[in-house]
């Protein structure tokens, strides 16, 4: 799950990290009021779930409340990489002397959390890693011990020399790791971490991605989920316990299992068409799940044919067939449906589908080709 910068900063504050004061606004007047409250100058920052906000013009400096109104008015409603800005964070502008990067993520290959710091802050860290890897220090953390102060010291000295600044940075590095671990994050970063004119260290930006599987431990974070920032079909799918990703093609796909679902999309592309979506109905799927899946796929008006590919294991083909019958009867789809069924209870399933004059094949390539033909004929 992605959360906004202002929400990540709430988590940072909870862990005692120095974050400049600020509040979130949905209207320009509200932004002006906040600026009057906290004092100017301020930064007005678009709150969207995407990187590169600065380059896109979604982060602006404003010297007085009038200018805050003006820039908030510009940023609110702006489109950044396909996402509409609905909120801005109005936050105190710092007097920046230097910018650094600190972050923590999971090293999948080493199977350990990894801390990363760099004196080259304020720019894309992946770019730094590619062009000047010597400017990044990586340090793996033993999950049993957690990040130790001596490690935080090592990281801080890689970036700073002044002992007072090193002490401030160490505190932030230790707190960042703790927040990362306890919030069940997959990524937590501050870019940039700044040193101000009077030698104070501040986290002026914040990014946290949350591991969905860890949300049950932190109900306060689950409440941060911003439904308005998600694709409505993806939200509906999540609520129905389906994995769904919207794509651009016209072949709607309903598959059991993530790997098979990806392979099905790849096959659609291989035979010259484009999949409209990724959709995994999961393991033990009930007829209801299939019905919900059909509803979600049919929301997309670009879909010209629906392709259902099931390899029954725990998923029973008869459950799927019953779901298809229910969906066809209740939703009366105008687009053709093609079905592939193999595995558990496939014979019973075939009989069930006869009721609505659907013939299921057992071959995945065949069903994909058929779906493409039908979509082209439509």
């Amino acid at each position: 799950m992605k959360i906004h910068e202002y929400q990540a900063k709430e988590i940072f504050r909870k862990y005692g990290m120095p974050v400049p004061p600020g509040k979130v606004a949905t209207k320009p007047e509200q932004a002006r009021k906040i600026a009057e409250e906290i004092g100017t100058p301020v930064m007005v920052k678009a709150q969207v779930h995407v990187g590169g906000r600065g380059k896109a013009g979604g982060i602006k400096y404003a010297k007085d409340p009038e200018e805050v109104y003006k820039v908030a008015n510009q940023i609110l409603g702006m489109d950044i990489k396909g996402l509409k800005v609905k909120k801005v964070l109005v936050t105190e502008a710092c007097d920046i002397k230097s910018e650094a990067y600190i972050g923590v993520t999971v090293d999948r290959a080493k199977k350990m959390p990894v801390m990363m710091v760099s004196p080259a802050g304020g720019i894309d860290i992946e770019e730094v890693a590619a062009k000047t890897p010597e400017k990044i220090m990586k340090l793996h953390v033993d999950p049993f011990l957690g990040l130790q102060p001596f490690q935080a010291k090592k990281l801080a000295y890689f970036v700073y020399k002044d002992p007072k600044i090193v002490r401030g940075a160490m505190k932030i590095i230790l707190a960042l790791y703790k927040a990362f671990w306890e919030a069940e994050a997959s990524l937590a970063e501050i870019n940039p971490l700044v040193v101000t004119g009077d030698g104070e260290v501040w986290a002026i930006d914040a990014k946290i991605n949350i591991d969905d599987s860890g949300l049950f431990r932190n109900p306060y974070i689950e409440k941060m989920r911003d439904l308005s920032a998600e694709d409505p079909s993806e939200t509906k799918a999540k609520d129905a316990d389906l994995s769904f990703v919207k794509l651009d093609g016209n072949i709607g796909c309903i598959v059991n299992g993530a790997g098979l679902a990806m392979a099905t999309m790849d096959l659609v592309k291989h035979f010259g068409a484009e999949p409209a979506n990724f959709l995994d109905i999961g393991g033990s799927s009930s007829p209801e799940k299939v019905l919900n899946a059909m509803k979600i796929v049919l929301r997309d008006k670009k879909v010209k044919a629906i392709l259902i590919n099931i390899f029954g294991g725990i998923t029973r083909c008869d459950d799927v067939a019953n779901g298809i019958v229910q969906a066809v009867k209740s939703l009366k789809p105008k687009v053709p449906i093609v079905v592939r069924l193999t595995g558990t209870n496939e014979e019973i399933a075939r009989k069930i589908l006869e009721e609505i004059d659907l013939t299921a094949t057992t071959n995945m390539e065949e069903v994909v080709k058929r779906a493409i033909e039908l979509a082209e004929a439509a």
Binding site: F144, S213, K269
Partner: protein, 296 residues
């Protein structure tokens, strides 16, 4: 021979009285797996289809000599279930449960190393050595005993590939799904090492997908250490970046973890990558033609 599970495998089913646990305990038993016990706290003394149920894994291991645990408990309790199994002294844990927090699996992984216990999963279909033993949820009937080893990050896609192998008369030594999570107990390299050492296995199928760098590392390992022919498949050529494709681990992040990179890594070391799932069987048949040919 086969790897990981065979006739000596004695299974304790953690979460045996749950919906999935009871169903699959019976399926495993029907397949011929020695399912010796089950565990559900508070239900000790009961039995499920003749399989005795205990309150703790320790009791189950002591009373029934179980050496392998399969876990079907809900994600909130799965972490504790894994530690309990490690503590009870089983040598292999198969964790079917999906949805364990990554931080938990990081800690579990490092603890397994200390204790010398192997875990397959989490979020996996399990392990089957056709004709010998099945520990997990895969449909037994699509498999056939033979000499192809199959290792995959997926579930149903593995069934698809295995089914084509079986239709072509290419039986399997062992098939295992290692799981779709970002952190898993057993990775491709571990399985390649086991298959290379297994006399029954003559060819290896590796089914990867987007996310992480396990496939790239496997390719390098194969070049150095694997003499048996390997055929690969990679799912997710059409997956968009930054989106989680069902599996928690199937995500292209920061431009890395794409199918293209993985395919290139395999091709670089001379491993053929099938374009379509059905082609895997053809490529394996080609490799096995005229008996086992060493790659070097």
């Amino acid at each position: 021979m086969a790897i990981l599970v065979d006739r000596k495998t004695k299974v304790v089913v953690q979460g045996i009285t749950g919906r999935d646990g009871s169903f699959h305990a019976l399926q495993m038993k029907k397949y011929g797996t020695k399912v010796v016990s089950g565990v559900t706290p508070g239900k000790g003394g009961q039995s499920v289809d003749g399989i005795p149920v205990f309150d703790t894994v320790e009791q189950a291991v002591k009373e029934t000599k179980a050496n392998t645990s399969v876990i079907y408990v809900p994600p909130v309790f799965a972490t504790d279930a894994i530690y309990e199994a490690i503590d009870a002294g089983v040598k292999l844990i198969v964790c079917v449960t999906e949805g364990l927090p990554t931080t938990d699996v990081l800690t579990i992984y490092n603890y397994l190393k200390i204790k010398g216990v192997r875990m397959v999963g989490p979020n996996c279909p399990g392990v089957i050595s056709p004709g010998l033993s099945k520990v997990g949820i895969m449909p037994g009937q699509i498999h056939k005993k033979g000499n192809v080893g199959v290792v995959s990050r997926s579930g149903t896609l593995t069934y698809e590939v295995v089914w084509h192998l079986t239709l072509k008369g290419l039986g399997q030594s062992t098939c295992l799904g290692i799981g779709g999570d970002p952190i898993i107990g057993t990775n491709f390299i571990d399985c390649l090492e086991l298959f290379e050492a297994d006399p029954q296995t003559e060819a290896i199928v590796l089914i990867g997908e987007i996310g992480g760098t396990d496939e790239e590392e496997a390719a390098v390992y194969i070049k150095k250490h694997v003499s048996k022919p390997v055929v690969a498949f990679v799912a997710g050529r059409t997956a968009p970046p930054g989106k989680r494709m069902g599996h928690a681990g199937a995500i292209i992040s920061g431009g890395s973890g794409t199918a293209e990179e993985k395919i290139r890594a395999f091709n670089r070391v001379g491993i053929p990558v099938a374009e379509l799932p059905a082609q895997v069987a053809d490529l394996v048949a080609e490799k096995l033609k005229g008996g086992r040919k060493r790659r070097k």
